[in-house]
C-alpha cells in the first residue's frame, strides 16, 4: 500500500533523535502555554510561532504538530480546573468537567479528557493518513473556480455557524477581508491601501491579526471588566486513575466523539464547535445516568473532549490537501507554511513528501508524548493556573510585542497590532465573533487570486462559476448554509429548531 510506505517514510523522518526532541519540546511548550488561562489553542500557536523561525522546515513543522496538539490538551486542563473555557469548543468540557472537579473527581475528569484525547487523536490521525491521499487526488481535478467555491463555503459556514448573530459574523468576515486587501496586488504588482507606508507593502500578516485580536484584545477586555473575586482553582483531589466504572462509561463516548469530530472537522467547512455540542447532546441522551448531567457526568467530558481532538486532526485534512484553513488555529498554521514558501495543497504532497509525512507521523508521536507527559505533570499545570493574573497578562503583552516585531521589524507593525487589539476589544464588547476575521485575512487574498484566475481562463465570462458543475454545487451548498436554517424556521414557525436536536 502506498499509504503505508509513505507513512513509514514519515516515521523515518520524525524518529530521528533531533526531530523527536523538537516534537517533545513542541508538545511541552504547547501544553505549557495552552494551560495558561486566557490563551486558547489559536493564540498558543501564534505566540509560539517565532520559536520555530530558525529551524529547517521539517523540524519546524514537527515541532508545530506538537504545539498544536499540546495547545489543545492544555486548554482542556484549564477548562476542567478553572471553569473558564478559553474558546467555544471547550465550553462543554468546562461545564461537566468543572462540576466533576468540584465533586472531588477532578483527577478522573482530567484522565478521561487526556486518554480520550489520545484515543480520539490517534484514530483521527489514522483517518487523516488515509483521507489525505484520497483528497489530494480529488483536489488535483479542481480548477480556480472550484477553489473559489470552496473558500466561499468556508467563509459562509464559519460566519453562519459561529456566534449568536449572523450580521455580526458578516461584520467580522468583511473586516478580515478588508485587512487582507492591504499590500501588493499579486497579479499586477500594484500597491493597494498601503497609504504610502512601505512597511505595509507586504500586507498585514495573519499572525499579527490573530495576536492582536486574541492577545491584545483579550487583555484590554479583561482590563475593562476584571473579576475581583479571587480565583477558584479547584484542587485536584482523588486519584488520577479512573475506576472500572468510569472506564466503562468513557470508552463509548470517546469512540462516538471521534465519529462526530473527524468527519465534521475534515469537511472544508469544519470547525470544532459543532461536533462537541453534538457529542454532548448525544451523550446526554444515551447515558444510563441522566441524573448526573449538569452535576458532573463523566460522559459529558469524555465525548466532547474526544470530538474536539478528533476534529483538530480533521481540520488538517482540508489544510494540508487544499490549503484551506477552517479555524483560526489552522489559519495561523497556513501562515507558517507560507513563511517557508510552502503552499499546502496537492503539490505539497508531491514536492515535499518528507515534510508532509514527517508532520503526519509526528502527530502520532506527539499524541503518545502528550499522554505520557500530561498526567504525571498535572501538578505543574495546576501550579501554572495560579500565576498572578497581572503578571500573566503583562507577560502575554511582552510575547505579543516580540512576535510582531520578529515578523515586521518595524514600529508600523506594532501600531497595527495594537490597533487591531482595540478592534478585538470592541468585538468582545459587542459579541462579534473573532474567528471569521482571522480566517478571512488569510483566505481573502487567496479567494481574489482564484476569482481572477478563473475569469482569466474563461476569458471574462462570469458564467464559469455556474456552468462548472462541481463549483456550482459547492456554491449552492454555501448559500444553503446560511439560508437553510432560516428557511427551516420560516417553514416551521412553531419551534425554534436548533442544531443538536436536528440530527438526533
Amino acid at each position: 500500500m502506498d499509504v503505508f510506505s509513505n507513512l513509514a517514510h514519515g516515521f523515518s523522518v520524525a524518529l530521528t533523535p533531533e526531530n523527536l526532541l523538537w516534537a517533545l519540546l513542541g508538545v511541552f511548550l504547547g501544553t505549557f502555554v495552552g494551560v495558561l488561562p486566557g490563551i486558547g489553542p489559536a493564540l498558543t500557536v501564534a505566540l509560539l510561532l517565532p520559536v520555530t523561525y530558525s529551524l529547517n522546515p521539517i523540524s519546524a513543522f514537527i515541532m508545530f504538530a506538537g504545539i498544536y496538539y499540546g495547545g489543545m490538551y492544555g486548554g482542556s486542563t484549564t477548562s476542567i480546573l478553572l471553569n473558564t473555557p478559553g474558546e467555544s469548543a471547550s465550553i462543554i468540557t468546562a461545564l461537566e468537567g468543572n462540576l466533576m472537579a468540584k465533586r472531588g473527581r477532578g483527577g478522573a475528569a482530567l484522565a478521561t479528557a487526556a486518554i480520550g484525547s489520545f484515543v480520539a487523536g490517534t484514530i483521527a490521525t489514522v483517518g487523516l493518513t488515509v483521507m489525505a491521499p484520497i483528497m489530494v487526488r480529488v483536489a488535483l481535478k479542481f480548477g480556480p473556480a472550484e477553489y473559489l467555491a470552496l473558500i466561499v463555503l468556508a467563509f459562509t459556514t464559519i460566519t453562519a455557524l459561529l456566534g449568536s448573530s449572523l450580521v455580526r459574523g458578516f461584520v467580522s468576515l468583511f473586516f478580515g477581508l478588508a485587512i487582507g486587501l492591504v499590500g501588493i496586488d499579486g497579479l499586477t504588482g500594484q500597491p493597494r491601501f498601503t497609504f504610502g507606508n512601505q512597511h505595509l507593502l507586504n500586507g498585514i500578516d495573519v499572525v499579527t491579526v490573530a495576536v492582536g485580536l486574541f492577545a491584545v484584545g483579550e487583555t484590554f477586555w479583561v482590563a475593562a471588566r476584571m473579576r475581583h473575586d479571587p480565583d477558584n482553582v479547584v484542587p485536584v483531589r482523588g486519584s488520577l486513575w479512573m475506576t472500572k466504572q468510569e472506564w466503562a462509561r468513557s470508552w463509548k463516548p470517546w469512540l462516538r466523539g471521534v465519529l462526530l469530530g473527524f468527519p465534521i472537522g475534515s469537511l472544508p467547512a469544519g470547525g470544532a464547535e459543532i461536533p462537541t455540542f453534538l457529542s454532548y447532546s448525544i451523550e446526554k441522551r444515551l447515558t444510563k445516568h441522566p441524573e448526573e448531567f449538569g452535576k458532573g457526568a463523566i460522559e459529558g467530558v469524555a465525548g466532547p473532549e474526544a470530538a474536539n481532538n478528533a476534529s483538530a486532526a480533521g481540520v488538517l485534512v482540508p489544510l494540508l490537501t487544499l490549503g484551506l484553513p477552517t479555524s483560526a488555529t489552522a489559519a495561523i498554521m497556513l501562515a507558517a507554511f507560507q513563511r517557508y514558501n510552502l503552499n499546502p495543497g496537492p503539490q505539497l504532497f508531491d514536492k515535499s513528501p518528507d515534510l508532509v509525512w514527517g508532520l503526519i507521523a509526528s502527530l502520532y508521536i506527539g499524541n503518545i508524548m502528550l499522554l505520557v507527559l500530561n498526567l504525571p505533570l498535572v501538578g505543574l499545570w495546576v501550579r501554572l493556573l495560579s500565576i498572578p493574573r497581572p503578571l500573566l497578562y503583562a507577560g502575554i503583552l511582552v510575547f505579543a510585542g516580540l512576535g510582531t516585531w520578529s515578523q515586521s521589524q518595524s514600529v508600523t507593525g506594532l501600531i497595527v497590532l495594537y490597533a487591531i487589539g482595540v478592534v478585538g476589544f470592541l468585538m468582545r464588547r459587542f459579541d462579534i465573533p473573532v474567528g471569521p476575521a482571522v480566517v478571512a485575512v488569510i483566505l481573502g487574498p487567496e479567494a481574489e487570486l482564484q476569482f481572477r484566475r478563473a475569469l482569466q481562463i474563461s476569458q471574462g465570462d462570469y458564467g464559469t462559476f455556474i456552468t462548472r458543475p462541481i463549483a456550482a454545487a459547492i456554491f449552492a451548498f454555501a448559500l444553503l448554509t446560511f439560508l437553510g436554517p432560516r428557511l427551516w424556521r420560516l417553514l416551521r414557525p412553531s419551534g425554534g429548531v436548533e442544531m443538536p436536536e436536528m440530527t438526533t
Binding site: N83, L177, A178, Y280, I432
Partner: protein, 182 residues
Amino acid sequence: MANNAKIGNDTPEASEATKPSKIAEFAELIVAAVVVILGIVILIETQDIRVPRAYTKVGPRVIPEIIGWALIIVGAWYVIDILRTGGAAPSAESEDVDVTLPTDWWTVGILALALIIFVLLIERAGFVVASAVMFEVAAYAMGSRRYLRDIPIAIVLSLAVYLVFTRGLEVRLPAGWLAGVL
C-alpha cells in the same frame, strides 16, 4: 435549544444584569457606522489603485470594490439589527471577566499607556528596556500592587526573552541602550 441555552449561560443572573443600556446601544451604533465608513473609505481609496494600461483582465480594483460595497451593506444591516434588538450583550466567553461590571476606563487607559511606551521605546532604548517598562506598567494596570516584586520579574523576563530569541533562535531584536553590554 434547551441544551444550548444552558451551555451558553453558566451564570443565569448575568443575562438580566447585562442587558445593554441606552449608552451601550449608542456605542454599538457608532461601531456599525464605522463599518459603513470603512466601506466608503475602501471605495474611495480604490480609485487610487493604478490599473496597468493595456491590462485587459479582471484588474486589481474589482475585489476591493466588491468588499467596499459589502461593508456598506453589512454595516447598514448591522444598524437595523441594533435598532431592532437593542444591541448585543458582551461576550461571556472570556476568562477572568465579569460582564456585569461597568467598563473600567482608568485601567484601560493605563494599559494603553503601557503599549504606547513600548512603541516609543523599542527602537531607541531597545527591546529589553521597552519590554521591562511595559511589563511593569501593564502589571500595575492589571492590578498588581507589589511593585518591588514585579521589577526583578520584568527585567529577568525581558532579558531572558531577548537572549533566548536573539542568540538561540536568530530572531532580530533591537539592542538599543544596552547595545554595548549585550
